[in-house]
């Protein structure tokens, strides 16, 4: 299928960004590269229109990651951009993902702003709650509440694993209002009750911040409350983005492993000629391609409500697992070097094992998928 030149040009811009800006961050010394430069990477992303913001004048407003084009349904380019960036650094990609998604939610709520936001959706311990009941939307279990009391708006919310970029200003806390509808509330990132898990205390995704929210009857200005929000769509896009990042991360690991296998000579031939190495790379290929295909199908066949959620849950579960499997195989290609920081395979692996849990445990997703039925797969792919 032929592509338009715009699509190609956009992809090339993302690739340049990934290689030149993100690659530069990762290319420096240190376990995860130069993390002090993350803010400037985000600045470039804004400048180059890589990521959306909620300001109509910004470069990425329409065609950045989760820009307004995705409101009308075409999410493929955003997912592809996330994967391309993730092939260099999954942490940066995760930051772009949540920043773009928050911008999209703000735009949908007609809130114009240049201030970066992050989305606080999932709750402890595993985000999705208990799945022993009949198939329901996984968001039925959310406990966060915003309620009118004594003429004031009060917020009560516990959220964990809120991903954010360092220059985040607001958190968009998803909760229910008195009528039971999902709404978003903007909370200052510096508010008390919001804490940060240091990058050194996590396995990976170091370029991205991880926040926790514990708000107990916080007072909320009426303007901070956004209108009703499609939380199910938000969650589905969140999962799909994570899935794309997982695939991209694995593609990056494969790139490094392939390069090593074709350069490293043993017994007179490149190790890429050894069946043992071919099997590792081939297994990685199978895992990556199945994951990529699943994400692409889920993105293309985007439906509504529970069906869309089911597809996204499927994609996140498959992509993250397959990607982790691929990355560990690629690391193995390098043997001892794969285990050392400087070859960066270990970074891909650390990020990959984190991504396996982002947004929910695989078994919970699988059970949700089973319980939400779904048509026979062959038909549903049409």
């Amino acid at each position: 299928m032929s592509e338009s030149w715009e699509v190609r040009a956009r992809r090339e811009a993302v690739e340049r960004f990934a290689v030149e800006v993100v690659g530069c961050l990762v290319g420096t010394e240190g376990r995860d590269g130069d993390l002090t430069s993350v803010k400037s990477v985000m600045f470039s992303a804004d400048e180059l229109g890589i990521v959306a913001s909620a300001n109509p004048g910004s470069a990425g407003y329409e065609y950045g990651i989760w820009g307004t084009e995705t409101l009308s349904g075409d999410i493929g380019p955003s997912l592809e951009a996330l994967a391309i960036v993730a092939s260099r650094c999954a942490g940066i990609a995760m930051g772009l993902h949540v920043a773009g998604l928050a911008a999209r939610a703000l735009v949908a709520a007609r809130r114009q702003t240049c201030e970066r936001a992050a989305i606080a959706l999932l709750e402890p311990p595993f985000g999705l709650g208990d799945w022993t009941g009949p198939p329901q939307g996984p968001l039925d279990g959310l406990n966060a509440r915003v309620s009118a009391r004594d003429g004031e708006l009060r917020l009560r919310a516990t959220k964990t694993f809120v991903y954010a970029v360092p220059d985040t200003v607001n958190l968009l806390v998803i909760c229910r209002d008195d009528s039971g509808e999902h709404v978003g509330v903007l909370v200052d990132r510096e508010a008390s009750g919001i804490t940060r898990v240091a990058a050194e205390e996590r396995t990976g995704l170091a370029a991205c911040e991880v926040l926790s929210v514990a708000l107990e009857d916080a007072f909320i200005a009426p303007a901070a409350r956004l209108p009703a929000i499609d939380a199910a769509e938000l969650l589905a896009l969140y999962w799909l983005g994570v899935a794309a990042i997982a695939v991209g991360n694995a593609v990056g690991a494969r790139r490094r492993a392939r390069a090593y296998a074709s350069e490293r000579v043993q017994a007179g031939v490149p190790i890429a000629r050894h069946p043992a190495v071919q099997l590792l790379l081939g297994d990685a290929d199978l895992a990556i391609e199945a994951a990529a295909a699943t994400v692409a199908q889920a993105a293309a066949a985007r439906g509504k409500g529970i069906d869309m959620l089911r597809r996204a849950a499927l994609a996140r579960a498959i992509a993250a697992d397959n990607a982790a499997h691929a990355v560990t195989g690629c690391l193995q290609v390098l043997g001892g070097y794969g285990y050392m920081e400087e070859y960066r395979l270990e970074k891909h692996l650390r990020d990959a094992v984190c991504l396996r849990s982002v947004g929910g445990r695989r078994d919970d997703l699988a059970r949700f998928v089973a319980m939400s039925g779904g048509e026979e797969s062959w038909r549903s792919r049409q």
Partner: protein
């Protein structure tokens, strides 16, 4: 006649002998497994666990964050006081039990490795790598090496000195060559020894050497006079020798508490007396050391996996979902049981591997590769069980996963080990038909 179907209560409805035959004691698997051991090994296993829980576990997270040679040396000395660093010779030369060693040379080492690494894979490796450094001395079967060098090192240790040993085979750009028959046949070693008056002069580099940065003694392999791996010879070096330098320390994914350094040899003179075994006998010593050490790597992997499982269980007991602890949920129970089974299988395989009179190539590689894969699986499943919490350092589970990943790589990648399994059985299990029994 009415009552519960729970095993304990159902048992009460049996006669006396029936109750005797029905074992419902609330013992841990650890205790059950210990009960199957001889009296000596039982005591030894408990001692290993006490040491590991007292000294290693409390330092595990901090040493992962910020590796510190001084702490390793200090722990080595403490471990030596517990008699864990001089076990490759029996009393009075070392602290091994002659009876246990005669019965199964490697069983104590397997028990020790699991316990240390259940507490911390990195510190465990740091303490265990010393035995690996010593191993060539006795595996060479060179009585001179044993009685002169091994005894001398053990005497130093028993005198309270940090006479740590290291084992140096890996060379830059040739990781797996030194662990594989085929690789070795065609590759050229780059660390070489030239004959000189009264000894040899060694030049070259070794990399990824566990304890390389803190070891006083190094059993190092070099090719002699321009030969290939078949000319490999084992030398006992000490780090005070002129021209012997420690290069850079690697920064790695896991087992971070354990040093992995480069060793640089710049025309180091090594006297004749420090040749271990025969000149040209190095390759055989190396291969047989791997036969001895690979089951122990299997035990390291089992320990790391068990540590991850125990930490995951602790998380599931203390974390609540909809007012019930996670352990009340069927899916969590299924997963914990499955992980438990895998760890048990790994341990059983290692214990079987150390029951053979002598280790041999296939058994060591089987234990090492199976347990390495098992440990990575169990640790990543443990991480997944905790959800996003799983990647927080504080729970100790993600560290176990990072630690476990190395067991699939060192002492030969698992691929190299699988080829070693085939090679080791090429004339028996995988021999061409006529010599084997017919199949229906």
């Amino acid at each position: 006649m009415s009552g519960s179907t729970a095993p304990g209560e159902a048992r009460a409805r049996l006669g006396a002998l029936g109750r005797l035959l029905y074992d419902v004691r609330p013992l841990t698997l650890w205790e059950r497994d210990t009960e199957t051991l001889s009296w000596h090994l039982r005591r030894y296993r408990r001692r290993c666990r006490r040491f590991a829980e007292s000294y290693l576990a409390p330092r595990a997270l901090q040493m992962d964050r910020r590796p510190d040679h001084a702490v390793c040396v200090e722990l080595f000395l403490e471990s030596a006081r517990w008699r864990f660093q001089t076990e490759l010779l029996p009393w009075p030369l070392g602290s091994g039990s002659l009876k246990a060693m005669a019965h199964s040379f490697l069983f104590p080492a397997a028990l020790k490795a699991e316990e240390l690494c259940a507490a911390c894979g990195g510190l465990g490796l740091a303490l265990l790598a010393h035995d690996l450094g010593i191993a060539p001395l006795f595996v060479s079967g060179d009585l001179r090496a044993i009685l002169r060098w091994q005894r001398a090192i053990y005497d130093e240790i028993r005198a309270g000195e940090p006479a740590i040993a290291a084992f140096a085979i890996t060379e830059p750009g040739a990781g797996s060559d030194a662990e594989d028959t085929e690789g070795a046949a065609s590759a050229r070693p780059t660390t070489v020894a030239r004959r000189a008056a009264g000894g040899f002069r060694l030049s070259g580099r070794k990399c990824f050497i566990s304890n390389g940065g803190i070891a006083r003694w190094v059993t190092l392999f070099a090719a002699v006079d321009g030969g290939g791996f078949d000319s490999w010879t084992c030398f006992l070096l000490d780090q005070t020798m002129t021209g012997f330098q420690v290069g850079r320390a690697e920064r790695k994914l896991g087992q971070r508490a354990a040093d992995a350094s480069e060793l640089v040899l710049d025309d180091v003179f090594v006297p004749e007396a420090r040749v271990i075994g025969h000149v040209g006998g190095g390759w055989a010593i190396n291969r047989n050391v791997l036969n001895f050490s690979r089951p122990i790597v299997g035990a390291i992997a089992v320990g790391i996996a068990r540590g991850a499982l125990e930490r995951a269980v602790a998380f599931c007991e203390t974390t609540r979902l909809a007012a019930r602890p996670l352990t009340a949920y069927q899916d969590i129970r299924l997963k914990l049981a499955e992980m438990t089974a895998k760890v048990q299988a790994g341990r059983a395989l290692v214990w079987q591997a150390v029951r053979y009179r002598l280790p041999f190539q296939a058994s060591g590689s089987i234990a090492k590769s199976f347990c390495g894969d098992m440990a990575w699986e169990v640790c990543t499943e443990a991480m997944a069980l905790l959800g996003e919490q799983g990647y927080l350092r504080q729970h100790g589970v993600e560290k176990a996963a990072r630690d476990a990943r190395l067991t699939q790589i060192y002492e030969g990648t698992n691929q190299i080990n699988r080829l070693a399994v085939f090679e080791g059985l090429a004339e028996s299990d995988f021999a061409p038909r006529p010599t084997r029994r017919p199949v229906s």
